[in-house]
Point group: C2
Chain length 391, copies 2
């Protein structure tokens, strides 16, 4: 007590408390796991393979996604309820939180780390924020006809403070350049196909590809062409002429590019499609254990990992890309929702929602290295995403 009183008298207790609490540490091996039901994040250390903290109070995280500041210290969490929360992974505290929309499904951060963008259903459009303060710097309603705003999906960052996204209700892809955030410049590509529902950009930032809910096939934009050019690819991709029941539309961000092939989840079919990324023609199909949801390449492209929709969502399969065969089937726990590779791919982290477990698996031996208790885990996001485009 005497020491505490002395410090209080000197006015230094708060200073000491503030500087003594957070441990000095690097941020390159940090990550977060979304606790879907509790509206919280578990903060994880991928070197020690353990949970090191928790941050609660993030609202509805039922379809949450996360991007990171370029120093790997801050996580920007996009909640389903339109909440955008900046979390400091070192102090394990919320720094800033804004309710930026009524209904939102994700976001992106500019290549230089200065702008954070959210894609919104209600009101339909994108909003762009100062990454340091979360002050609104640009509001781009997806107004495709007077008074009509489209729900926005498939938002990705492009080089140069630009963002690409798809308008579900307007059959359009827009590219907004925020180099001067006060005067964003939007390039509109209309008539790209019916109801784009999700999209991705290839790892080189060249091809933006939107899946279509309203028809078969995909819309692809060559972003290196000037002006950007849209073409339709994989006309047979989708539910086809005799629609199959689809238990969950596959996530497109997970699409894997490994070497010269892209590996795509078939819609409704128990298959992974193999596509040549020069011609964008299908070159093969790999039978898998269920309807694929995420199809993700290990960073070196040697393996592709797949999880599945109900009722096959307890399993994960591993495809060997040189032979294009399934070489392993794992059962890491009930309701596998997401997977995330460590930056160099020596391990993969898998969330099993109903088992309340995150499994860490060695991708070479397939041995389980660790199991972490996490309440209803869904998305897993590592800070190494800060160094990659289109995540």
């Amino acid at each position: 007590m005497r020491r505490r009183d002395t410090l209080l008298a000197a006015g230094l207790l708060p200073l000491l408390a503030a500087c003594a609490t957070p441990t000095l540490r690097g941020s390159g091996d940090l990550g977060v796991v979304v606790q879907r039901a509790r509206g919280a994040l578990s903060i994880v250390d991928t070197s020690e393979r353990r949970v090191i903290g928790e941050v609660a109070g993030l609202g509805d995280l039922s379809h949450a996604s996360v991007v990171f500041s370029r120093d790997g210290r801050l996580a920007y969490v996009f909640g389903r309820d339109g909440g955008l929360t900046m979390v400091d992974l070192l102090t394990q505290r919320i720094v800033q939180r804004v309710m930026q929309a009524g209904n939102s499904i994700g976001g992106a951060i500019s290549a230089d780390g200065t702008l954070v963008a959210a894609q919104n259903y209600t009101p339909g459009g994108i909003k762009v924020f100062d990454a340091r303060t979360l002050a609104l710097v640009a509001d781009v309603p997806a107004e495709f006809a007077p008074g009509q705003c489209s729900r926005v999906v498939g938002l990705v960052d492009l080089p140069g403070q630009r963002f690409a996204y798809s308008l579900f209700d307007a059959d359009a892809i827009w590219i907004t350049d925020c180099s001067d955030p006060a005067h964003p410049v939007t390039t509109r590509l209309p008539g790209i196909g019916r109801q784009p529902y999700d999209a991705l950009v290839t790892p080189d930032g060249r091809h933006y590809i939107a899946g279509l809910f309203g028809e078969d096939g995909l819309a692809m934009v060559d972003l290196w062409a000037d002006p950007p050019r849209v073409q339709r690819i994989l006309g047979g991709y989708g539910r086809g002429q005799q629609p199959l029941p689809v238990y969950k539309m596959p996530h497109l961000r997970g699409w894997a590019v490994a070497g010269r092939q892209a590996y795509l989840p078939a819609v409704g079919r128990h298959e992974v499609l193999v596509v040549d990324t020069a011609t964008w023609q299908e070159v093969g199909r790999i039978p898998v254990a269920g309807q694929p949801v995420f199809v993700m390449a290990r960073p070196d492209g040697r393996q592709v990992w797949v999880n599945f929709a109900v009722p096959d969502y307890d399993r994960v399969q591993v495809i060997d890309t040189p032979s294009q065969r399934v070489v392993a089937t794992l059962e890491p726990g009930q309701a596998v929702l997401h997977m995330e590779f460590t930056p160099r791919g020596e391990a993969v982290w898998i969330s099993s929602r109903d088992a309340h477990r995150v499994s860490v698996i060695d991708t070479a031996s397939l041995r389980t290295l660790a199991q972490l208790d996490v309440d209803a885990p869904s998305g897993i996001f590592f800070t190494s995403r800060a160094a990659r485009m289109g995540f």
Copy 2:
């Protein structure tokens, strides 16, 4: 003074000093610039684009290279004199330093971050250290005949605690698996070609390629084949039948893979070679301003940047990869020695040794964003390398 006395009385000044000195910060946007002449590192912040500290006492850094711990906090600096130094970028101090050889030219860190390996000329071989303590855990002399050890070059990390390297004096490539560091297992590939002098691994970790000093052509190992297979590629690569003066052998680690092409520095010629990475055949040559030294792809592969040997080493050229033309020539300062892209490629940092300057250049507008004063800068290394293979 009164506050200080109070703290001294409470015995808390050292504690406060210890915790107040290093700023809590993320490590994802840190990097180092080698001060070649002074044996020191400048620590830089790539978000603020400035020098934030300096660490001296690193010995002979005339051919220094650097790798990073997977949390991005520690830099491992390999000096020419065989010194291996662990530098804490957050406290800006040397944590550990060992003289591990008499003559050394670089190193690597295992994918899981637990092992640091150094490649040595004297005594010829590799040594492997515990990344936390720098305790020696494996010593693999490059003994190719009784009592004869080769100089080792071209060391790279491979998935799974393995390292690949070339034996200059033994015309061999070796792959050492350190999964059990007490019992390293080495695969020896002899007769790969005369005098391998440097090497690289492709970004997917599949192809290890060694340049040959003693003859034309290159040796390539397909590491995904079991057992690994060596083949000769690009028979015309090298000085050819009528040798040209070569002012500086090009660095191979800088070789750029962009999309389906690799861009290689020609030896002695004012050209960059374009090679198809499926067939490993030459498919083009791009005339440039001098003998290329580093040929480096911007992370998205849209541009390739080139610097040159004496007497053209004040210039840097930018190749647009879709058109395969030089689109810009920059003169950032005398004696350009190295270039490093920010993780997502929006900027490139260039060291100009004789101008004592590091320039930060916007890769889209080619505008100079910042110029930093650094004494005789050579290599530039950012912590984002921790997340990449073969760096």
